[in-house]
């Protein structure tokens, strides 16, 4: 599974704009890390289940009853741009 990481493609997926310098630097640093994590290939995990978290808890739900939450003005007050009762963002659909 060892191959060169396509940093530009991964950065696109991660929604982070990188400079050319960052692409080179992060590419080299991530290659070093990947080389080290290759060691996991030596572990026999064929019959081992995956652990997402260590507790026995599963599907924790609460009763479907209304409860207090942050009010709208507080939430909107956090947003960088608002318009009326909405968060404002640049156009997301072409005209």
């Amino acid at each position: 599974m060892s191959e060169k990481i396509n940093v530009r493609y991964v950065a696109k997926l991660a929604r982070i704009a990188l400079t050319d310098d960052e692409v080179d630097r992060f590419g080299a640093q991530l290659a070093v890390l990947l080389e080290h994590v290759e060691a996991l290939g030596k572990l026999d995990v064929g019959a081992v289940p995956a652990t997402a978290q260590v507790l026995e808890l599963a599907n924790v739900t609460r009763d479907d009853k209304p409860a207090p939450c942050l009010d709208r003005d507080t939430v909107l007050g956090q947003a960088p741009r608002t318009q009326g009762a909405f968060v404002r963002v640049p156009r997301i659909l072409a005209e």
Partner: protein, 498 residues
């Protein structure tokens, strides 16, 4: 003893007995911060008004006859925990001007129990780091040697407690971020069992690993803080609905009958000779307190760093997707929404956060998910099983907390060498078991005495046993008593009232 040197236990006892007011303790802590924090840089912000208002409330409650477990105890809060009305930045540009709209459950419990929030403490950005150097907003120095790092990521909380700017620091530990700064700053750094302390209001890094805990100058103080902050919280679905056995009431002073596991794979020969001597002595000290040393094995422990540096970045890449400039935090305006996301994150995140988001995104991406992320999750199963087997043969496990003493600022410029800092602490995080570091001595390097920590770990939910063992060790050895030069050099501490 100056007021700022007092333990949380002593402060709470005297405030409850009305021999001392929360106001006096708070004024002393704020004066200490004024005097030393210019050098130490523990706090991103000292919260004068918040602290004084909290002190007035605590004094009023005491005057009305209430008794509070942590009455008047000065508290440093890591700045990835929300405190309503305060800026909560994660030491990141992306949240630099963000004000929290609610308070984290664990912090609220500490405040309800009488703690005084002195300030918000520095950290590696989004808690990603082992030296506190990844903060985008400030430099924190080790109070025992100002040329060195305080450890990370909870470096600000640790430095604040070591410099006597607080009695308790709240930290968060994902792969060692409480234990390592605890060791570097000659403190007790305690990570409880995963799920013991609510993560509600802790800004998420890696949700299956993150756990809040205390940094203190004594084990008793750590136990008192744990008793207050732990317990089920319906606001965190990974919080355990299980009663917490108080840890601070009966702390033993010997280790008779305790089986202490020494991990075969943690070969002390790998350490520098001066460090090796310290840990050999620490194991002998445990034995002289009555413990039986038992050889145990954690067969997959050498895979811990690789496992962790896939799982933690994978979870962080998902958790940090929320920082896109839309609903809160920094927004870099652009003509289209895609460019807005990319530029906001490019300018808002520092290099270490970008690295981890990239590696996590890669490990989760189509074609690599099974080979990296799922394989790491399976390795995690083996890590947890290692501990389950080992704890069949011993009650607690002892090991070094770090592979080196505090290093000079800027000494580790290569990211992977920094990741290796977490070698001893990561396995316990993967297994979710409680673990702490307790001061175990000093190594001399470049004319400075540098603190080292002994890590102790216990099975899930065995916090009372773990803290009890640490207390016995601390009481018998006394390494934690040495005051940091940064704190001692200050002449501003207010003398204890007669």
């Amino acid at each position: 003893m100056k007021l700022v040197d007092r333990s949380a236990f002593d402060v709470a006892r005297d405030v409850n007995a009305r021999r001392l007011s929360a106001r006096e303790v708070t004024d002393a802590a704020l004066a200490q911060a004024d005097a030393v924090d210019g050098q130490v840089g523990a706090y991103l912000r000292v919260e004068y008004d918040l602290a004084r208002a909290a002190a007035a409330r605590v004094d009023a409650r005491i005057a009305s006859g209430e008794r509070l477990a942590l009455a008047g105890v000065p508290l440093a809060v890591k700045d990835n925990m929300c405190v309503i009305g305060t800026r909560t930045t994660c030491a990141s540009r992306i949240l630099e001007h963000w004000t929290a709209p609610y308070t984290a459950t664990a912090v609220q419990r500490m405040l309800d129990a009488g703690c005084i929030p002195i300030g918000k403490a520095n950290l590696d950005e989004f808690a990603m780091g082992s030296s506190c150097e990844n903060s985008a907003l400030g430099v924190t120095r080790n109070p025992y040697d100002l040329s060195r790092v305080p450890g990370g990521s909870s470096g600000g909380s640790a430095a604040a407690v070591a410099a006597r700017e607080a009695a308790i620091g709240m930290g968060s530990d994902t792969g060692g971020s409480i234990r390592e700064p605890g060791a570097f700053c000659n403190l007790v750094g305690f990570k409880p069992t995963y799920g013991r302390v609510s993560r509600y209001g802790l800004i998420a890094f890696a949700s299956s690993l993150d756990q809040i805990g205390p940094l203190t100058r004594t084990v008793r103080d750590a136990a008192m803080a744990y008793d207050v902050m732990s317990g089920h919280d319906p606001m965190d679905s990974t919080s355990l609905p299980r009663a917490v056995e108080p840890a601070s009431r009966a702390l033993p002073t010997d280790l008779r009958g305790l089986r202490v596991g020494i991990v075969r794979e943690f070969d002390l020969q790998a350490l520098a000779p001066a460090m090796r001597t310290i840990y050999e002595r620490a194991y002998a000290e445990l034995e002289s307190l009555g413990a039986a040393l038992v050889d145990v094995s954690l067969p997959t422990v050498d895979y811990g760093v690789a496992t962790y540096y896939l799982i933690a970045p994978a979870e962080c890449s998902a958790n940090l997707a929320r920082f896109d400039g839309v609903r809160y935090g920094l927004r870099v305006d652009a003509a289209d929404v895609g460019t807005m996301y990319e530029q906001t994150r490019a300018q808002g995140f520092g290099p270490e956060v970008k690295r981890r988001v990239l590696i996590g995104t890669y490990a989760l991406s189509s074609g690599y998910y099974d080979a990296y992320y799922v394989r790491a999750q399976k390795a995690r199963t083996l890590a947890a099983k290692d501990f389950a087997v080992a704890f069949g043969a011993c009650d607690i496990i002892a090991s070094p907390a770090t592979s080196c003493p505090p290093f000079t600022l800027g000494a580790k410029s290569d990211p992977y060498s920094m990741y290796l800092m977490d070698y001893y602490t990561i396995p316990m995080s993967l297994a979710g078991v409680p673990a702490l570091s307790v001061p175990c001595g000093w190594v001399r390097e470049a004319q400075a005495d540098l603190p080292l920590g002994l890590q102790l770990a216990a099975p899930h939910f065995a916090e009372p046993l773990l803290l009890g063992a640490a207390h016995a060790y601390e009481q018998a050895t006394g390494y934690s008593a040495r005051v940091s030069p940064a704190a001692a050099g200050s002449a501003t501490g207010i003398e204890e009232p007669a």
